[in-house]
Each structure stands twice: as C-alpha cells, then as structure tokens.
Symmetry: C2
Subunit: 132 residues, 2 copies
C-alpha cells in the first residue's frame, strides 16, 4: 500500500514538473509570471502590455493555471490572478540537485587539476635542490 | 548599433530559455540529464535503462543537444555525451530572480503580520496596567 502511494506521489510530482517546465517554455508566459510576481492583478491588467488579443493572452493564462503556477479568484466581476508562491519550489529543487551533482564533479576535477599543477611545480624545484 | 546588439542578445537569451525549459518538460529527458550529471556516457549507455527504442531515446538526445544542455563528441566509433555545465545557469537565474521578487513580497507581508500581532498583544497589556 505504502509503495503504491509512493509511486502515485512520484508520478504526480513528475506530471507537475512536466507541466511547470512546459509552462515556462514561452516568453509571454514568463512575462506574465514576472508581472504577477510583483503584485496580483486583474486579467485585463495582465493582458494590457502584450501586443496580442485578450483571447490569446487568456490561453496562456489557462496554461499557467493548469500548471499550478498561477491562481485565479473572483472579486465581484473581476478575475484576480496571483502567483502560487510554492509552485516553483519543485522545479527549483530539481535544477538545484542536478547542478549540485555536476558541480561536485567539476570541483573534484578542479582539485585534481590543482594537485597536478602543484606536483608539476614541485617537480623542477626538487630537481634544482638536488633530489632525483 | 549597441541597441541592436543588445536586442539581438536579449532575443537569443529568450530563445535559449524557451529551448531549455521545453527540453526539461519531459521525464525521459530529465532522467538523461540526471544520468549525465553523474558522468559522461556513450549514447548506448544512456539509452540502456529506458524501456524504449534506441531511436526514441536518440530523438530526446537531439532535443537536449539543440537546447545546449547536452554536448556530443566523437571518440573513435563512439559518441560520448556530456552535460554543458553552464546550460542551466540562465534558467536557474530566471527562476531565482522571479522567486526573489515574490519572496520579498511574502517577507513584507510577514513583517506586517508580525507588527499587527505585536500591536494586538500590546493592546490588552496596556489596558491591564490601567491605560485606557
């Protein structure tokens, strides 16, 4: 039972990562996120700076809502959009872990390189002072 | 001239962000990146753990190469794949900046909340000690 639950959780985490990365793969959607990261706003306010129809912007907003990055609430006749502040935690976590991996590899290579350089420097010196 | 160059640079940065985020929006491609972040590997080694044809994995690898995340070099008859260690810097930077924005907003709200709570606590105390 626990294994099934764990697998379900992993599958939905995978689906969320897919959806958030796909949502971020578009300049209009990233600009909408940047706008909303400053303050919540009405749909019409969000759409205003873009040179496209309200309908086209609305489609992008729906992709962002489906990914969980953007939330919508009603306030009278207005639709207010805001950022779900935890929605980027998982993608940030994935990138961080993956970069740490290869960062560690690069660090290890750098250490090796420094060791090699040190040995190279010691080599000629040692010879100068008469050791073989 | 400088403005045109700056605009070109911004456009290519946008295109790179689009390509990297789209490349990351697939579980097989993320698994390939995780594999290569541990060590470089031959195409066949990378493909081995996946339950799909070599051709299907190759398509994913080509998407990763086009995004700049994965690099390929020839070593005799082998094709060696490795991670371009700087390829995630830009997407990481974008996420970091955007989260910082709304993190600051959340911090400001938290401070306001603490102030309000403090005022609330002081209120009854003041009354206890005889002030109106």
């Amino acid at each position: 039972m626990i294994e099934i639950e764990a697998r379900k959780e992993a599958a939905s985490r995978t689906a969320r990562l897919d959806a958030v990365f796909a949502a971020l793969a578009d300049p209009t959607r990233r600009a909408i996120i940047e706008r909303l990261s400053r303050s919540e706003a009405r749909v019409t306010e969000v759409a205003e700076p873009f040179h496209m129809s309200l309908n086209a912007v609305s489609k992008h907003i729906r992709v962002l809502e489906a990914s969980g990055v953007v939330e919508r609430r009603r306030k009278g006749r207005d639709h207010i959009l805001s950022i779900n502040s935890h929605s980027l935690d998982e993608v940030d976590g994935w990138i961080g872990r993956t970069r740490r991996y290869w960062g560690e590899r690069l660090d290890a290579m750098e250490r090796l390189l420094r060791e090699l350089k040190k040995d190279h420097k010691l080599g000629p010196k040692d010879r100068k002072h008469g050791s073989r």
